[in-house]
Symmetry: C2
Subunit: 220 residues, 2 copies
DNA sequence: TATAAAAGTTAGACGAACCTAACAAATGTA
DNA sequence: TACATTTGTTAGGTTCGTCTAACTTTTATA
């Protein structure tokens, strides 16, 4: 049985591994920063996780999840994203409110609960932010998504996920009437500053910044 | 902010106070037994709860919740019973499975979550065991219920709640096809051993023990 | 390549929630 | 009422997750 805290470390390592798929190791400071603890604390925990064979690393080296550790981490992520979906779809929580509560709900221990919840939600593949929800067997649905910023010429696409899940960004999206599934037509790319002229659904064309375009995932 | 553990102590004291409405104090050993900890541990926690003005007691005296402590306890009980209802009604958990998971869910901190959940469940007054669900303002719905054992002559009644929530009893009820709302006709009371001949809905008459009759609440 | 900066570790401490063992107070009964 | 039993408290210890301060190793750069 893993403690609440151990679970958080595993999830953090999993999330960090997603940030750089080719080199999925993390550093102690990086992990500590992600979790909001001091590096010394992370080192202590790492020793414990290594002891339990959830993590493979050696002193002053990089941290990598073991097969077991990854599996546990994926299970927590699954719960997190199913709960987010529940809050959003069934309880009318907004985009930016779901995360905080799901952080708590993801630690509820009950195999049956998570599977029944999934069934109740009709086996969703993606959460309200467009992120894939791992299946009970550990499989993670894939999307061929690209950053809006990677589109370099006039082209049509559809919003499939957000990269930045900050409240500020999510609220901006809401103001622009953008949600998962919204159609976007890229009209023009301004080389000078990387900004884009886009048309959201059939609204009036408008300009968005490069920072914006780097925070949103779309499907061509 | 209360810790997970502090919340459990408050809920325990509240539950113990229900067991004897006229004299709602509890003892240290009683409380420790309820929570599955040693008396010494309970004493420590009591000091902390007194410090926080959640409990009123003095050394070697009886324990009583303060107004504030009671309010916090009721809020936890409200969450517990709403979650039980959710699990039972929406996720097809059985009578005897809901408690354990609700014990975890009751500690999730989100005012919005509990109120939205209540709305989603359509403002239920009673949980799957027939126990009243406290309202957001702290009011607790009342039922005029009596133990089946208190019925002393041939009479009709309806099951409104269970007193004993043990798995063994709940599973026995399921076997007998008894659930909240089931109509029971008391045919005969056997003075010798307190057992009853009853008719469940329109099934064949059968006998149940005094112990059984003392575990079930009905409404005349 | 020497050294300064960054990254990571160790040692020692703390609060929370638990324990055991020994003690003190309250209570019930001979 | 005295004393045995029950009930409750204190003292001291453990584990978990956290911290700070001092130290070591790795890395980046002048």
């Amino acid at each position: 049985m893993l403690s609440y805290t151990e679970e958080n470390y595993l999830k953090a390592l999993l999330m960090l591994s997603f940030q750089n798929e080719e080199r999925p190791e993390a550093g102690t400071n990086e992990m500590a920063a992600y979790l909001g603890v001091k590096p010394a604390t992370a080192t202590d925990m790492l020793k414990k996780l290594k002891e339990k064979e959830l993590v493979s690393y050696q002193k002053y080296g990089k941290i990598l999840l073991t097969e077991l550790g990854r599996k546990k981490g994926v299970a927590i992520l699954r719960k997190h994203r199913l709960w987010e979906t529940f809050l959003y779809e069934k309880l009318d929580f907004s985009w930016d409110e779901v995360h905080e509560v799901a952080e708590q709900l993801e630690h509820i221990q009950s195999e049956k609960l998570v599977n029944k919840l999934e069934e109740f939600l009709d086996y969703p593949d993606f959460d309200p932010h467009g992120d894939p929800i791992p299946k009970a067997n550990g499989d993670i649905p894939v999307v061929d998504k690209v950053l809006l910023a990677e589109i370099t010429a006039a082209e049509n696409c559809k919003v499939v996920a957000v990269k930045d899940t900050s409240t500020l960004f999510l609220q901006y999206l809401e103001k622009l009437n953008i949600t998962i599934g919204t159609k976007i037509r890229v009209l023009e790319v301004i080389d000078f500053d990387g900004s884009l002229n886009i048309q959201i659904e059939n609204e009036e064309p408008r300009s968005v910044s490069m920072k914006f375009a780097e925070s949103l995932f779309v499907k061509r």
